[in-house]
C-alpha cells in the first residue's frame, strides 16, 4: 500500500532531493544558500547534515562559471542539481546553459550525456520587482537540447524532480514561489512523473484552459466558479514546457472547440503563443472561438504592492476573460462574489510572510 500524506511543495521538493540522493550516489546538490538556515525556502534544509559537505555544497556568486563547472561534473559521471533562488540569476548563465548544456551531447554526436538539473524559482514574494520576479520559461523552451518543466502540484513537484534527476539530459526545473507553501497529497515513496506529459486536472466541455505552474491553481479556482454559473471548462496542467504535450492539448481542444492559455509570463513571445500556434496549425477546423492568451502585460514586474494588484492576472481575471470570450452572459458580480480574495493580493496564503 502506498503511504501518502499532506506536505507542502517545498517539503515535496526536499524529499525528492533526499530520495534521489539516497538512490544514486552520483547525485549532488549545489547552489547559493543551499546549506544555509533558510535552506532555499526549506527545499534543501537538513540535506548537508544528512549527506555531508562532499555532496551538498554552497557556492560562490558566479552563476556562469558554476553552471559550467556543474556541466563539467555532469559529463564526468556526476549528476549535479544546481539551484538559483531566482530565475533572473540564470540570465547570467545562459551561455553555459544554451551553448554548452543544451548542445554538448548533440555537438559530439551523442557520445556524452549531460545529466544536469537546474532548479530555478519564478514568481513573486513581496516587492521583488523587475529583476527578481521574471518568469523566463519561454527563453529556455526555445532551446533544442533542454527539457523544461513547471510542475504545479506537490505530487508532480516531487515526481518530476526525481524524474529530472534520473534523466540523462539537462532539465530546467521551474518552481513557483507561491506553490512552495501549498500542501497536498504526496506519497512517501520515491516515484517519477514523466517530463513530457500534460495532465487534465478537470474535465469540461465548453473550453480548454491550458495553464502553467501557479496559473493552474488560479485556473482551477476560476473553473470552479464558472462551473457554478454553468460554464464548464477543462483545465489542463501543461506541466512540461519543452517538450510541450501538444497531443493532450489538441485532443482536448478538439472536444471543447475553445482554447485559453494562462501563463505566468509576459504575453508577447511567451510560451502561451506557442500553444496557440500549435493548436491553430493542427486543430484549426475544430476551433469555434479564436484562441485567447491570459498572461502578464508586456511590462517588467513593478515592486509596489499597489502596482502588483493589476499586474498579475488571478482567478477572477481569468474567469472574466473566459466568460467574456465564450460570450456568456454571466455577470461580473456573479464572478466577483465567488472569487473575491480574502487574503491580500500579494500573498499566496495567509501564512505567507514577506519579504521573499
Amino acid at each position: 500500500m502506498v503511504e501518502i500524506r499532506q506536505i507542502t511543495q517545498a517539503e515535496a521538493i526536499r524529499e525528492a532531493l533526499e530520495q534521489a540522493m539516497l538512490e544514486d550516489e552520483r547525485v549532488m546538490l549545489i547552489g547559493e544558500g543551499v546549506p544555509d538556515p533558510k535552506g532555499i525556502f526549506g527545499t534543501t534544509s537538513g540535506l548537508q547534515e544528512k549527506f555531508g559537505n562532499s555532496r551538498v555544497f554552497d557556492m560562490p556568486l558566479a552563476e556562469n562559471g558554476m553552471t559550467g563547472i556543474c556541466i563539467g561534473a555532469a559529463i564526468s559521471g556526476m549528476r549535479p542539481v544546481i539551484v538559483h533562488q531566482r530565475i533572473d540569476f540564470a540570465l547570467l548563465c545562459m551561455d553555459q546553459l544554451v551553448n554548452n548544456a543544451a548542445k554538448w551531447r548533440y555537438m559530439f554526436a551523442g557520445q556524452v550525456n549531460v545529466p544536469l538539473v537546474v532548479r530555478v524559482i519564478v514568481g513573486r514574494g513581496w516587492g521583488q520587482g523587475p529583476q527578481h520576479a521574471q518568469s523566463l520559461q519561454a527563453m529556455f523552451a526555445h532551446v533544442p537540447g533542454l527539457k523544461v518543466v513547471m510542475p504545479s502540484s506537490g505530487y508532480d513537484a516531487k515526481g518530476m524532480l526525481i524524474a529530472a534527476i534520473r534523466d540523462n539530459n539537462p532539465v530546467i526545473y521551474i518552481e513557483h514561489r507561491w506553490l512552495h507553501g501549498i500542501s497536498d497529497d504526496v506519497p512517501c515513496e520515491p516515484y517519477s512523473v514523466p517530463l513530457d506529459k500534460a495532465v487534465i486536472r478537470r474535465s469540461g466541455r465548453h473550453a480548454t484552459v491550458v495553464a502553467f505552474s501557479f496559473m493552474v491553481v488560479e485556473a482551477l479556482l476560476a473553473a470552479k466558479a464558472l462551473a457554478d454559473l454553468g460554464i464548464d471548462v477543462e483545465v489542463i496542467d501543461a506541466r512540461s514546457v519543452r517538450p510541450l504535450d501538444m497531443e493532450t492539448i489538441v485532443e482536448s481542444v478538439k472536444r471543447t472547440g475553445a482554447l485559453i492559455v494562462a501563463d505566468t509570463s509576459w504575453k508577447t513571445g511567451g510560451i502561451a503563443g506557442e500553444i496557440v500556434a500549435g493548436v491553430s496549425e493542427t486543430a484549426f477546423g475544430f476551433l469555434r472561438h479564436p484562441p485567447l492568451r491570459v498572461a502578464l502585460p508586456d511590462l517588467p514586474a513593478p515592486t509596489s504592492h499597489h502596482l502588483t494588484r493589476d499586474y498579475y492576472p488571478d482567478a477572477l481575471c481569468l474567469a472574466r476573460a473566459i466568460a467574456t470570450h465564450l460570450g456568456s452572459d454571466v455577470t461580473d458580480a456573479d464572478l466577483v462574489s465567488r472569487l473575491f480574495r480574502t487574503t491580500p493580493h500579494d500573498v499566496p496564503q495567509r501564512e505567507f510572510r514577506g519579504p521573499f
Binding site: L61, A62, G65, W126, P297, P300, S304
Partner: protein
C-alpha cells in the same frame, strides 16, 4: 577638521536612525518589499561619499540605503519608494532594492549582484569621453567580487585609466555564507592589485580612515590616476534581508558578532567627538528624529501609484 568629524558623525547617525526606524516599522507589513539594512556598515558609505563632490556619481546594489543617503539622496523619496508610493524615487516601480537620485549624483542601485559594477565603469568612461571632471564610486560586497563581470569591469577600467573608485565592503558574508566557503584563500584587494588597480585595505568601521583613504584616492583619480580599489572590513549587524537580528541562527560565531558589535562605527566616532555643550548631541538626535518622523509621515500619506502609469516608463 573638527566640523568635518561632526558632519561625518551626523551622517552616520542619521543613516543608523533611518534604518532603525525602518526596522521598527517593518512588522506593520506596510513596507512590502525586501530591505537590506546597512546597520553596522555606515562608516564606509559616509566616509567615501564625504570625499566625493555632488557632481561625482555613485552606484550601489541591494544594500543601498546608506550609500543613497550618504550621497545626498532624498530621504522622503526613499521612504516613499519603500512604501510603494507615487512620491518614491522610482514612483513605486522599484522598492528598497532600486534607488536613484540623479540630482544628488546617486546614479542607481539594483539587486542583481554585480550588475552595477560595469555600469559604474561605463559612467566613468562616458565622463572621460565627454571631458567631464567626475569620479564614479561603486559600492559592492565581498560576495559580489566573485562575479566574473566585476573582474571584466576592473580590467577595462584599468586598461582605459578611468576615474573609478571601487569600494568593496567586505562584511565576511554573502547572505548566510561565509567568505571562506566561497572564495579561495586570497586577498580581495590583492586580486584587484594584480589587475592593476591602486589598492588600499582598511578598517571600514573607522569613518576617518575611510574618509582619508577615499579623499586621497579621489584626488588622485581627478589627476588621471589608474582606478582605485579600496577594501573595507566591516560587518552587518542585522539579518541579510529583513529588519531583524538573526544571531540565534548561529551561522556566525558568537564572539565574532560580539567583537564587531563592539566596533560599532557610530559609537566609535562618538567617543572621539568633542561637542560642546553636550546638549548639541541631543539636539542633533532630535533633529534627525524629526526629519525621519516627517519623512515617514509623508511616505504613509503618499499617493498610491497607478498601473496605467507603467506603460509610459518602458520606452523613451
Amino acid at each position: 577638521m573638527k566640523n568635518d568629524i561632526e558632519a561625518l558623525y551626523r551622517d552616520m547617525l542619521r543613516i543608523r536612525r533611518v534604518e532603525e526606524a525602518i526596522a521598527d516599522r517593518y512588522a506593520a507589513q506596510e513596507m512590502r518589499c525586501p530591505v537590506h539594512l546597512s546597520i553596522g556598515q555606515e562608516a564606509v558609505a559616509v566616509g567615501v561619499c564625504a570625499a566625493l563632490e555632488k557632481k561625482d556619481g555613485v552606484f550601489s546594489s541591494h544594500r543601498a540605503h546608506a550609500h543613497y543617503l550618504a550621497k545626498g539622496g532624498s530621504l522622503k523619496a526613499m521612504l516613499a519608494e519603500i512604501y510603494g508610493k507615487e512620491e518614491g524615487c522610482c514612483k513605486g516601480v522599484g522598492g528598497s532594492m532600486h534607488m536613484i537620485d540623479l540630482e544628488a549624483g546617486f546614479l542607481g542601485a539594483v539587486p542583481i549582484v554585480g550588475a552595477t559594477v560595469p555600469l559604474a565603469v561605463g559612467a566613468a568612461w562616458a565622463a572621460r569621453l565627454r571631458g567631464e571632471d567626475k569620479v564614479i564610486a561603486v559600492f559592492f560586497g565581498d560576495g559580489t567580487f566573485e562575479e566574473g563581470a566585476v573582474f571584466e569591469s576592473i580590467n577595462f577600467a584599468v586598461l582605459h585609466r578611468l576615474p573609478v573608485l571601487f569600494v568593496c565592503e567586505n562584511n565576511l558574508y554573502a547572505c548566510y555564507t561565509r567568505l571562506s566557503t566561497r572564495q579561495a584563500d586570497r586577498s580581495i584587494h590583492g586580486v584587484a592589485a594584480s589587475c592593476g588597480c591602486n589598492t588600499m585595505s582598511l578598517d571600514g568601521n573607522d569613518v576617518l580612515a575611510v574618509y582619508d583613504a577615499a579623499r586621497s584616492a579621489v584626488s588622485d583619480l581627478r589627476n588621471g590616476s589608474t582606478p582605485y580599489f579600496i577594501e573595507c572590513a566591516t560587518y552587518r549587524i542585522r539579518e541579510h534581508c529583513g529588519p531583524n537580528i538573526d544571531d540565534e541562527l548561529g551561522y556566525r560565531p558568537k564572539d565574532e558578532v560580539e567583537e564587531w558589535k563592539a566596533a560599532c562605527p557610530v559609537a566609535r566616532l562618538q567617543s572621539r567627538l568633542d561637542i560642546q555643550p553636550r546638549d548639541r548631541l541631543a539636539d542633533m538626535e532630535h533633529a534627525i528624529t524629526q526629519e525621519i518622523e516627517e519623512a515617514f509621515a509623508c511616505a504613509l500619506a503618499g499617493k498610491t501609484p497607478n498601473q496605467t502609469d507603467l506603460e509610459g516608463y518602458l520606452y523613451g
